[in-house]
Structure formats: structure tokens, C-alpha cells
């Protein structure tokens, strides 16, 4: 379990006023689950994820790991290196890469036969699979996903949701997904953290009670819509105009 304890972040520009981006954020990311952080665009989700990954320092508060958990952050923009082929991208940053392991990962994420392909000019889905495989090569306990599905079509999104579920279930890896898409978060997650903006604060935590095997038909089900309305009501009650994008 990872505990986010009283995290605050104040942006101090060289000119102008200080802005409180994150205010006293506290929540627990349950182990071996997929959790989602839902908040409007520009609310500080990326900053929070980077703080959890140790890539930014908070103004106040701390991130506590139960064990010495290895955390990997996947940015929202395509982050596979265009000058390396799929194989080299996945083995990037490894001290000792195991050929069989890398090939197994390539197959696992659905890129079999593409080992020597370069990601430049490839789809966002293709590049996300590389990022995911590269993360898995580092054997993480927690993977932080920063709105990775924004620029993908619905078919690719569904394929990747299933892939994430498979990684979560078969490898026991915890995921924290930052998103502004309510349906995406409900479809993928076991727990939702709803975050308001200006400054960002956690306003609600919702456990998702849906079958573990999920497919596209779930999106139109009554239970799914029920959860969705519940989430939207939480945001409405906080007098926010969140502009949360709807599931296509």
C-alpha cells in the first residue's frame, strides 16, 4: 500500500502571485488494484503523479511506501524514444537486460514481430504498448498512468484497458490512473478518487463493485450508469463545472 500524506504544492513563479496547486492531499493506493484519480483538466493530476514518482518535490507532505516499492511513471505524451527500436526501447535503462524476458514482454503487450520497428510515426496505441512493456521490464510495484488514452480511438482504448487489467491481475501490479474521463476510470478501476480543482483536494473515494472481467457491453449497463451518475453528482455538489469528457 502507498500512502499519500498531506501533499501540498505551491507554484512560486518568478513574477506574480503564488498559486496553491495541491492542498493537503491524503489518500491510500490499495495494493494490487487499479485506482483512478478523476479530476478536471489542469487540476494538478500530473504534478501529483510526478510527486508520487519522485520526479517532483512537494511543498509539504510525503509519499509513504509500505515496502521499498518501485514506481514507474508513464507520461501522457508518447514517451518511447523514436531513435530506438521497440526492443531497445523496452530494454532502455536496464543494467542487465535478459533477451528472453524482453521478447516475452514484447509478446505480452501485443508487439510480437515488431522488435526491430521504430516507434516514430506509429500510433499512440503502439507507443503506449512500448511504454508499458518498458515499465514492466523494470519490475515495478506501482505504475502511474498520466492520461495515456486521450488521443486514441475507442477500439485501441478497449484493447489497452484489457491489457492493463491483465497486467494487474496476472502480475499483481498496482496502477494509479489519472484521468478526466469518468467512464474510462469506472471501467478500469477498483477504486476511484475524485479530486476537485483550485486548489486540488480529494473530495470523495468510491469503491467500484463491478465484475472483474469487463467488456464493452458493461458500458451501457444499468449498474455502470448508476456509478457514473453517482460520480457526476459528487462533482455537481461541489459546485464545480468540471468539463469532464464523456466516454465515446
Amino acid at each position: 500500500m502507498t500512502r499519500i500524506k498531506n501533499i501540498s504544492k505551491v507554484i512560486q513563479p518568478s513574477q506574480g502571485f503564488n498559486t496553491v496547486l495541491l492542498s493537503d492531499i491524503t489518500f491510500k493506493i490499495p495494493s494490487r488494484q487499479v485506482a483512478s484519480l478523476i479530476a478536471p483538466v489542469g487540476s494538478g493530476k500530473s504534478t501529483l503523479l510526478r510527486i508520487i514518482a519522485g520526479l517532483e518535490t512537494p511543498t509539504d507532505g510525503q509519499v509513504l511506501f509500505e515496502n521499498s516499492e518501485k514506481t514507474v511513471y508513464i507520461p501522457s505524451e508518447a514517451s518511447s524514444f523514436p531513435w530506438l527500436n521497440v526492443y531497445d526501447n523496452i530494454s532502455f535503462g536496464l543494467d542487465h537486460s535478459n533477451d528472453a524476458e524482453i521478447k516475452e514482454l514484447i509478446k505480452f503487450v501485443g508487439l510480437e514481430g515488431y522488435d526491430s520497428f521504430f516507434p516514430d510515426n506509429k500510433s499512440f496505441g503502439f507507443r503506449f504498448r512500448i511504454s508499458l512493456a518498458r515499465s514492466l521490464a523494470h519490475k515495478p510495484d506501482l505504475i502511474l498512468l498520466d492520461e495515456p488514452f486521450n488521443l486514441m480511438d475507442i477500439k485501441t482504448k478497449l484493447e489497452l484497458y484489457n491489457l492493463i487489467s491483465e497486467v494487474n491481475k496476472s502480475r499483481g501490479i498496482t496502477f494509479l490512473l489519472a484521468t478526466s474521463n469518468i467512464s474510462e476510470a469506472i471501467f478500469l478501476s477498483d477504486t476511484l478518487f475524485l479530486m476537485r480543482t483550485s486548489p486540488a483536494e480529494i473530495i470523495s473515494e468510491i469503491e467500484i463493485d463491478l465484475p472483474s472481467i469487463r467488456d464493452a457491453s458493461l458500458l451501457s449497463s444499468e449498474i455502470f450508469n448508476g456509478i457514473r451518475i453517482k460520480v457526476e453528482n459528487v462533482f455537481r455538489n461541489t459546485e464545480l463545472q468540471p468539463h469532464l469528457s464523456l466516454f465515446v
Binding site: V72, P75, E77, F92, G93, D120
Partner: protein, 251 residues
């Protein structure tokens, strides 16, 4: 410079038209003038000039100085990219406070090198090498400041050492920009070295220019310009080929 997106056929038409105008105007209408030499005179002197001025030797020296210094400059920056970038980040503030030196023209450095090392081809090569390295490094700094944030985040997150990050991420991400700049550096170096040889008592093409000007040898000036143009074009073509063959990505 002719824009890249003009089709080859149109380029050819344009060149042929210019050639036609030149031949008609200066061969038949204005054969005696001080603007451009007669085409037949130019053709005749094109062969003799090689022996009169020992052009092969001069072109060998100048072309070697330009292209070898560019090659060694590139290799040097490639090998030391990580160390140089790291060092640069440490002294960046001090360098910016020395901004006044930016107003010194390259001509000053040419003159100083010529003053320190007169008639020295090694000094000429050293000057060209330093200039090429400076231009390439300048581009590397510019490119690595505009590197995609995601690449650096990933490298930091995967605990890549700063040396590997500079060498594997900064350098690789900067390569397309550096290769684009190399085409400009090719032109800049030719200009610098021709001037270097022109103002000093050197042995390259610049010195031949000086001599041709002293002799008021009109056709020699044009022959030299054509030959230099062909060599610069060849260098440009080579850089373009290497770029398209080996640097296939956009950062």
C-alpha cells in the same frame, strides 16, 4: 538559395534559362564588359587556370581543411557530448555574463589566428576545427533545451545516470537538428576558411582568390567561384544523404 520544394524539372528549366541569357548577353551583345566574362573565354581559361595557379593543390588544402575539421568536430562533440553538456550547465550563468564577446565578429578571430600563426596550415585546420566544434555545440545546446520533457522524465524515472541521459537522450534527440545545421555549417566554414586564406598568406583557394584579384584575372575569379560552388554543393549533398540514411527520426 533555391527552395527545396521546387521540382527538379523546374529548377533545371530555371538554370538553363539563366545560362541561355548569360550566353546571349555576354557572348554576343556585351562581349567586352566588367560585369561578367565572355562564356568562351571562361571555357578556355577553365583548363589553363588549373596549371597557372596550381588549383588542384589549393582545392585539396581548402576542401580537406573544411571537411576534415567538420568531421573531427562532429566526432569530438559526439564523444564528449555528455561531459560538455554537463560542464556547460555548470558554467552557463558565467557564459551568459560574458555576452559582450558575442559582438566580436568572426573576422577578428580570423585576423588573430593569422597574426599568431602566419602561413601555417595546421593552425588553419585548428581554427576551422574550433569553429566547426563551436557551431555544432551551439546547436546541441539549443536542441537539448527544447528536448521533449517526457523523454527526460522517463530517463530520470528509470534511474538512468546523468552521463547516459546526456549521451542517449540529449544527443540522440538533438541529432536531426544538428544534421540540419551541418548543412549551414558547411557553407559557413567555406566562407570562413576562404576569408582566412584570403587575408593571410596561406596556400588554399582563398589565397588564389587574392592572387587573381591582384592580377585582375576576371575569368579566374569566376572559375574559382564555380569550383567552390560545386564543392559546397557536393558537401551539402553528402550531409543530406547521411542524414536521410542514418537519422530517420524526428525528435
Amino acid at each position: 538559395m533555391i527552395r527545396e520544394n521546387i521540382p527538379l524539372q523546374n529548377k533545371l528549366k530555371l538554370y538553363l534559362t539563366l545560362l541561355f541569357v548569360y550566353i546571349v548577353l555576354f557572348e554576343f551583345i556585351l562581349p567586352v564588359n566588367k560585369i561578367l566574362p565572355r562564356p568562351t573565354l571562361l571555357l578556355e581559361s577553365f583548363v589553363s587556370i588549373w596549371f597557372e595557379y596550381n588549383l588542384l593543390y589549393a582545392f585539396t588544402i581548402t576542401a580537406s581543411v573544411v571537411y576534415l575539421s567538420m568531421l573531427f568536430g562532429f566526432i569530438q562533440i559526439y564523444i564528449g557530448a555528455a561531459r560538455y553538456l554537463k560542464f556547460y550547465t555548470l558554467i552557463e550563468g558565467s557564459i551568459q555574463s560574458l555576452g559582450l564577446f558575442l559582438f566580436l565578429t568572426p573576422f577578428f578571430f580570423l585576423a588573430v589566428f593569422n597574426f599568431w600563426f602566419p602561413q601555417n596550415v595546421i593552425a588553419e585546420f585548428l581554427f576551422s576545427f574550433l569553429a566547426a566544434s563551436f557551431f555544432i555545440f551551439q546547436k546541441l545546446i539549443h536542441e537539448s533545451k527544447n528536448i521533449k520533457e517526457e523523454y527526460l522524465l522517463v530517463a530520470r524515472n528509470l534511474k538512468t545516470s546523468s552521463y547516459d541521459t546526456y549521451q542517449d537522450v540529449h544527443w540522440k534527440s538533438s541529432l536531426p537538428g544538428i544534421f540540419k545545421q551541418l548543412r549551414q555549417i558547411n557553407y559557413q566554414l567555406w566562407f570562413l576558411i576562404l576569408t582566412y586564406e584570403f587575408i593571410g598568406d596561406q596556400r588554399g583557394v582563398g589565397a588564389i582568390y587574392h592572387l587573381a584579384l591582384q592580377y585582375r584575372d576576371f575569368t579566374a575569379l569566376f572559375t574559382l567561384a564555380i569550383m567552390c560552388g560545386i564543392l559546397i554543393w557536393f558537401g551539402d549533398l553528402l550531409i543530406k544523404q547521411i542524414h536521410s540514411k542514418f537519422i530517420r527520426w524526428t525528435p
